[in-house]
């Protein structure tokens, strides 16, 4: 029996994988930066923005 996938299912899955990949990559960059004594304000050059302080 032929099954029909929902429209854009593989595209949505690819997008979700990309989001998770970015999350993990950002985490890796942060960990390396912090463990090397890097300053948070220098993260912008690595594509990561620090959130506002309270």
């Amino acid at each position: 029996m032929k099954t029909v996938s929902s429209p854009n299912t593989s595209a949505d899955k690819a997008k979700a994988k990309e989001i998770v990949r970015r999350m993990l990559n950002d985490k890796k960059i942060l960990n390396e930066h912090i463990s090397n004594g890097g300053k948070l304000k220098d993260l912008a050059s690595k594509g990561i923005k620090v959130a506002r302080a309270i």
Binding site: A16, V50, A51, I54
Partner: protein, 163 residues
Amino acid sequence: MQEPYNYTYTQDQGYTFTTDYSIDYTAYFTDGSDYFSDFPEFKDNVVSFGFARINSATNNKKQQDDRIQYTVTSILENYLNSDPKVIILFICDTKDRQHQARKILFDKWYSSDNNKGSYYKIDEDVCTEEDCTYCSVIFHRDNPNESLIAQGFYSIAQQLRNK
């Protein structure tokens, strides 16, 4: 209950504190809006939480220190209470294969927090072919986008489960 450590904020290192065992820690928040770009209603309120040791104690013996838990939860609650629209994303770091241990630790901290009734916490195991990452979001019960946040968070994990 023990008191949290005093912490200070600097632009260089975020929220830092020093324990009774002379270990320095930093807690910090980074912009998480990119991860929820499909949800303009709340994406700009998403921050990703990080927590790391900055230095090591002079001896290498691991010390049980419950005050760290209270300090981290104090930082998180103050951040959440600063704006009811804030959404804090936790990604359990996989770099040293200790992500499951980190998830258990953060779950324990949350479940023992006296104020957890003020917040929603949603957990998801997000798995690709290569690895599983444990993610959670915490947000205030007064957040006006409560159901949309849950939808957005679940949708990422659900899409990865789709064949």
